[in-house]
Symmetry: C2
Subunit: 460 residues, 2 copies
């Protein structure tokens, strides 16, 4: 008996030593290998995209996605899985939009548009009016009420192609989409058409959120995006004849808020159960495609982080949570709710990592944190080099984790290659066929590696 | 008069100073901006892919591609443009291949195959035989003649998914395709079927070159690639019943060598006209797709290097040549011919850069050069950082520039992101729709930047 106990003890010590003998290099190698050879992220995304589809807040798709991801997290053997209630806005597109350019009465040229998320619909018979093309709000102001009243304002400032990060190019344009209706309404415009946020020339309109700010109901004008090809056509036609008219009809509607949920899973920490590190993406998507890149990819990668940690036998010191946020696209209610509840419960969040920039080849991370934490990250650069992860910069993190910001937390965002992202963003071609399995899996592994290192060494 | 001369002289000096005042940072910025906003590479590739199509050596497509690229180079106002004659092999696929698995007589399951480049055809009625699946040549040897004679050898070692560079995974498998017939023939096999070199599971067979070495004619057995999905099916069926048979019929043929050309353009150097720096890709492609990634991308990027230098007003010190090589895929005759003529003419080549790894987002370069040159490259790393170009490693360069190797020349290869490359490589989906304009243009700019720096600072 004693001998057997000794032998068991011996093996226990040896295996303990073996675990400890694993270098960070070894662990990262195991993480990447497991993701690339036994990954679940691609299968999960296949289901989310092809069996459920688009997941706009308040839709049946969003509801089914909550149920599906909770069910999958339940299977992982985490310490806790739960739904966090959050009321979300419900906006529906209704019947497909229709639009044409009328050069002379009766002579029309159909163009591809889609209502912007949150927009009011046109009257039942649509709107037909002359068009004023502008590239900026300053140009709008210069034209003033006299030139704009009764017309449709066409915001046509393209994304700047010489910016290397397409997110920078997006940042330089998206105020036209988000704020365009408020600005155009000031001068009596009857509608807004925005050039799609897309660096390519193609036929797909790209939706996205817009605001009416505090405009009274009667000042809220219908707003739609037009494909980049058709933006070029419209602009050229206006150059030839500024009296041409645009007709458009949209059928969207804002309904009452509905009940929805953030989906949360947790591995409770072995040493610091009260210190939380979270990893997440957003479960909702726009309604035109199936939201594979935005942000189905981020959802399944975040789930995969916890699955990989368990699969390779890492027992984290901190509590690691996956948070699948609801309603990033048109309200950020999920992100706000999570931060609100965390505050109520006095939970100490030390790190929050978001993946919401597409499922493309990961290049690195951007960080919103203090110098001590950032320098710690820089000390890990060589660990990531074999995986071609080279981008570690200060900068933004992610919309959903933003509400957690304080002066101690490490906020981070995965930064995949951005070149193709806006080819698909918020459009009908944000679909599963645009996902490369390896790229998705490399992203999941890269996130897991960062979480592993921060858990092991702690935040500063 | 004197005053006017003084004024002219003054402006000449000032403008000279302004050019000199341009930092390397400025020039690289101009290079990238010009490629991304006024690039020609995408238009050229559109023509090459969609108006000409596949360009297998000796085909009409290859001939038209020679004429087209020469014509386009002629328009650029280079100092010289010429065709360099080279005899190339001509192999034709003939009618589409056909294959099925026969589980019991009369019960068949069609599978997707394509003949490997250079293979002999099956007899007119095809081949039907039992199948022996192996993962390696060692396994083949162990089985020996007794188990292999009269059967079809099925090489089914998959690309290793946990290697980060897909080229490494390719390197670990491609001997099955290239050398499989020679090895299987030793033991009396009647045919060879090779799992496609593809990391994805899909229905597309991927062709590529194979050899018979010095096998006598009667020992040359027909060889074909099978799609990865069908490789899985075949393997599973063999597990269930090792007596199943495979039928396949191919219709390919080797014809006599035909006349073709490398296409060459030159900007003659202002200070060192006898020192040559070349940039190139290969004009030929396999016949199943249109060769957009392999290597239409490299062709148009290489042309773009010279166009960009001229467009932004760089007058190189060294002679810079674009070389569009013929017959990389099944013979390397173009690469060998170029090196042979260079030697005959006593031309001093100091640098050769190839782009032949797809038109995806560029990550950097690999180099085959001495330490002094490599260290010089490393000193330029920060110049490339704004463009997310981070990969500078010693390693291979490109097949076409290989024959120029000596102990002084800098050989280099552009290294784009490799994750999607083998999804398309040598298959019917290597087509223009798989090209992203920005990724292609970033590659062209990155190559131009390297050539600019090497021309300015010289090789060591």
């Amino acid at each position: 008996m004693k001998n057997i106990q000794s032998i068991l003890l011996f093996f226990a010590i040896i295996s303990g030593l073996l675990v400890h003998a694993q270098t960070d290099e070894d662990v990262l190698k195991t993480i990447y290998k497991t993701s690339l050879t036994q990954g679940e992220s691609y299968n999960w995304l296949n289901h989310l995209s092809n069996q459920i589809g688009s997941r706009l807040s308040g839709s049946l798709g969003a509801e089914r996605a909550v149920a599906y991801t909770k069910e999958e997290l339940d299977k992982l053997g985490l310490d806790k899985v739960w739904l966090q209630p959050v009321m979300v806005p419900k906006w529906v597109r209704g019947a497909k939009e229709y639009a044409y350019i009328e050069t002379t009465p009766g002579k029309t040229n159909t163009v591809n548009i889609c209502a912007l998320g949150g927009s009011v619909a046109t009257p039942a018979l649509g709107i037909k009016a002359q068009v004023v093309e502008v590239k900026s709000f300053e140009e709008l102001e210069t034209l003033g009420t006299e030139k704009i009243e009764g017309k449709i304002v066409f915001f046509n400032r393209p994304m700047q192609p010489d910016l290397i990060s397409t997110f920078d190019a997006y940042g330089g344009c998206v105020n036209q989409r988000y704020q365009g209706a408020v600005e155009a309404s000031k001068y009596g415009a009857v509608g807004v058409i925005v050039r799609s946020m897309n660096l390519r020339l193609d036929d797909l309109p790209h939706t996205g959120s817009m605001t009416y700010g505090d405009l009274p109901v009667e000042k809220r004008i219908p707003s739609a995006a037009i494909s980049t090809n058709d933006a070029e056509v419209l602009s050229t036609m206006l150059e030839l004849n500024k009296n041409i008219k645009l007709y458009f009809k949209t059928n969207c509607k804002k309904l009452k808020d509905v009940q929805s949920y953030n989906v949360i899973g947790e591995i409770t920490g072995s040493q610091f159960p009260d210190k939380y590190m979270i990893v997440g993406g957003h479960l909702d998507s726009w309604d035109l495609g199936d939201g594979s890149h935005d942000d189905g990819a981020g959802v399944v990668q975040s789930m995969e982080v916890l699955r990989l940690l368990k699969t390779i036998g890492v027992k984290p010191k901190h509590s690691i949570r996956v948070v699948l946020f609801m309603n990033e696209e048109n309200g950020l209610r999920g992100g706000n709710k999570y931060a609100e509840v965390a505050k109520q419960n006095g939970e100490n969040h030390v790190l929050a990592l978001e993946s919401d920039a597409g499922g493309f080849t990961p290049r690195g991370f951007s960080f919103d944190c203090n110098d001590a934490n950032f320098n710690q990250v820089l000390s890990w650069q060589n660990l990531f080099k074999p995986y071609l992860i080279h981008y570690f910069e200060k900068g933004g993190s992610g919309a959903d984790v933003g509400p957690l910001k304080n002066d101690r937390i490490v906020l981070a965002g995965l930064r995949p290659d951005s070149q193709r992202y806006f080819d698909h963003h918020h459009a009908s071609n944000d679909t599963f066929d645009a996902i490369n399995k390896r790229e998705l899996e490399l992203g999941a592994a890269t996130m897991t590696a960062l979480i592993y290192l921060f858990d092991k060494y702690g935040t500063k």
